[in-house]
């Protein structure tokens, strides 16, 4: 992604800057979501140990870890999008001519956006309803449902925002006649991207193996 866009008109450049900003935000949220899963594993483990060894249990593990899952999913959606991780069946698309392909990428993104907006709207209605009911869960903690549902809604809203800025950049690139760059932005991740990602994990593993020294 480096060095790109130097010769681009102002509009797509601005959209690109915006998208990069939102991507950074989305990445931050995804890391939080991931650490939330680590916390979840520790919480459940503590509950299992507490129950079997000490005879104590939080009596809210089921509910609270459920909320952690909901928050975790929602908060990482935008990041998964900017990383091109959401699953598409793109076998046929990638055989089409570039210009058509670029349009279809944008169309796919807009349809995903439509679904994302529906989800976010539905989530907001749910929060609103929980506020009206002043609803609490039935766990020992009596968590006000609007809180975890609000956190969940925030993640879905961020997902909508990510779709919007990505679509804005794609549309502006299409407008100035750069279908190749649309393909690069919205299309399946290039071999380089994929390699980088797969290698990162494998490299860490190999590093670990080498660090062990000769067996």
């Amino acid at each position: 992604m480096s060095g790109e866009g130097a010769d681009l008109p102002a509009l797509p450049r601005l959209a690109g800057a915006l998208r990069r900003g939102v991507s950074a935000l989305a990445a931050g949220m995804a890391y939080l979501a991931g650490w939330n899963y680590i916390a979840c594993a520790l919480f459940i483990t503590a509950d299992v140990l507490g129950r079997n060894l000490l005879g104590v249990s939080s009596a809210a593990t089921v509910e609270v870890t459920g909320y952690m899952l909901a928050g975790g999913i929602a908060w990482a959606l935008a990041h998964a999008l900017t990383r091109g991780a959401h699953i598409r069946v793109d076998v046929w698309v990638n055989r089409l001519p570039l210009r058509l392909r670029a349009v279809l990428h944008l169309l796919a993104l807009l349809l995903l956006g439509a679904f994302a907006f529906f989800c976010a709207w539905a989530a907001w209605s749910l929060v609103d309803e929980s506020l009206l009911f002043d609803a609490h869960d039935n766990s020992a903690l009596r968590v006000p449902l609007a809180v975890p549902q609000g956190v969940w809604f925030f993640g879905l809203a961020a997902f909508c925002l990510a779709v919007l800025v990505l679509a804005a950049e794609g549309a502006s690139l299409l407008l100035v006649g750069r279908p190749a760059e649309v393909d690069r932005l919205l299309g399946p991740r290039t071999v380089d991207d994929e390699a980088a990602e797969a290698l990162e994990a494998a490299a860490m593993a190999r590093e670990a193996a080498e660090g062990r020294g000769p067996a």
Partner: protein, 454 residues
């Protein structure tokens, strides 16, 4: 394409029967929806968007209820379901094991034992995946973990690319079948069956499928012999077994905690993740950087599965409010066919759905509908759980859509097309189908062990 043809055929049959029964069927609308579905997939629309928007469309066209006023609750339910917490936990465990180099050790140790068989390294793919499956409950995690370990071993070798990818995808597709497995947890949740019994029942079928995979590779290896590596001293081989210990210990932790009555199957996934981190710490590999990277990967992969689950639930809810599953179930139950034929129809339906549907969303959408039919026909719920899990695994590796294949494709460094994967996985797919058929004919394969267990 096969999927579409089969679906249209099924649609045709059900329309004919419904018409004969004098019911009014909105043929045009159903065909239009099917067309929209096909065009969406063809145009590369995201799977979640296709399912979700299909739900919205079906709702707008067929429902007279304000279903959208309940959509928030429909989406919140699965998002916050405790049982599904097992998904990120199994992914987390796999990622930690991968990054700490423990899966690499597993692979190398098995390799020393297997690489002189006809088919060589390909056997290691299956064996290491099978071992990993016994600690991880997720096919995606199994394929992702063992795939990133195994792929580098094949660079610059004469192995058929297709077989390499196919064997890894097939190995990944053992992840749910060999206990523990998320599919069993979800199936147990929906049908109120004992997950412990499901795990026991899946042991023999899991070994059966693994065995069939080995046969596929042997056949391939005999037909296309590769150079055999030099033999390794036996002492070295023995010493390599020590590298299997962490995996065996985790297996004991995850499955043992369930059978000892310390943890529910969902909780066992958390114990596995923490146990993996503890092993990484023993090795001196546990660091903030490792956990941070694992956190990101887990969050990303859970999000992509989560979005599909949300969409599947929405579609499921709308279809239920317009009585599609109920009608289908009644139709199936009233078919003038013997039970085994109805069961064969159900399995065919699963295979058809599985070609383009995500395994996880498939089980969530279909089991609530199909399960009552199956039990009414007199089939054993435990047996059906094992068969459904096998079908879900088949769905994960049946082209054109399967998460396991996507994950592996995402890891390749040679930039080849995904069609390599599609071609490579076919012989293994055939082996899986043979296993399902055997289970149909000899249900005891699944039922004998739980009964003997007590």
């Amino acid at each position: 394409m096969i999927a579409v043809v089969v679906l249209l055929l099924l649609l045709g049959v059900s329309l004919a029967v419904a018409a004969a029964g004098g019911q009014e069927v909105p043929v045009g609308a159903i065909l239009a929806l099917t067309a929209v579905f096909v065009v969406f997939f063809g145009a590369g629309v995201h799977v979640a968007a296709v399912l979700g928007l299909l739900g919205v469309l079906v709702g707008l066209v067929f429902s007279d209820r304000p279903w959208w006023d309940f959509a928030g609750q429909t989406l919140w339910g699965p998002s916050s379901n405790f049982v599904l917490v097992a998904v990120p936990l199994f992914l987390l465990m796999g990622d930690i094991l991968l990054r700490a180099g423990l899966s690499d050790r597993l692979y190398r140790a098995l390799n020393l034992w297997l690489n002189r068989l006809p088919g060589g390294l390909l056997h290691t793919n299956i064996a290491s995946c099978a071992m990993f499956s016994a600690i991880s409950g997720s096919s995606v995690a199994t394929a992702a973990t063992m795939g990133s370990v195994a792929l580098p071993y094949f660079t610059g070798t004469g192995y058929s690319r297709r077989m390499v990818l196919g064997s890894l995808a097939a190995g990944g597709a053992l992840g749910n079948l060999i206990p523990p497995g998320i599919t069993f947890i979800v199936y147990g949740l929906i049908t109120e069956t004992s997950v412990g019994a499901l795990y026991v029942a899946a042991l023999l079928p899991g070994l059966l499928v693994t065995g069939l995979f080995v046969l596929v590779i042997l056949a391939h290896g005999l037909a296309r012999p590769t150079e055999r590596p030099a033999p390794v001293p036996f002492a070295l081989k023995l010493r390599a077994l020590a590298d299997l210990l962490p995996t065996l210990a985790l297996m004991l932790l995850v499955l043992g905690s369930i059978y000892a009555g310390w943890a529910t199957p969902t909780e066992a996934a958390a114990l596995g993740a923490v146990g993996a981190a503890v092993f990484a710490a023993f090795e001196g590999k546990l660091s903030f950087r490792l956990l941070n990277a694992s956190a990101e990967a887990t969050a990303r992969n859970t999000a992509l599965l989560g979005l599909i689950v949300l969409a599947a639930y929405l579609l499921n809810y709308v279809l239920t409010t317009v009585n599609v599953p109920q009608t289908l179930a009644a139709f199936m139950a009233d078919l003038p066919l013997p039970p085994w034929a109805v069961m064969a129809c159900i399995l065919a339906l699963y295979l058809a759905l599985g070609t383009f549907m995500e395994g996880f969303s498939m089980i969530i959408t279909t089991v609530p509908v199909v399960f009552p039919i199956v039990t009414a026909l007199g089939y054993d719920p435990i047996w059906f759980g094992v068969v459904v899990t096998m079908l879900v695994e088949i769905a994960q590796i049946s082209p054109p859509d399967g998460t396991v294949m996507y994950v592996l494709q995402g890891m390749r460094r040679d930039g080849g097309p995904i069609t390599d994967m599609f071609a490579g996985v076919l012989p293994f797919l055939a082996a899986y189908l043979v296993a399902v058929t055997l289970l149909m004919v000899f249900p005891e394969l699944a039922l004998w062990l739980p009964r003997a267990w007590g």
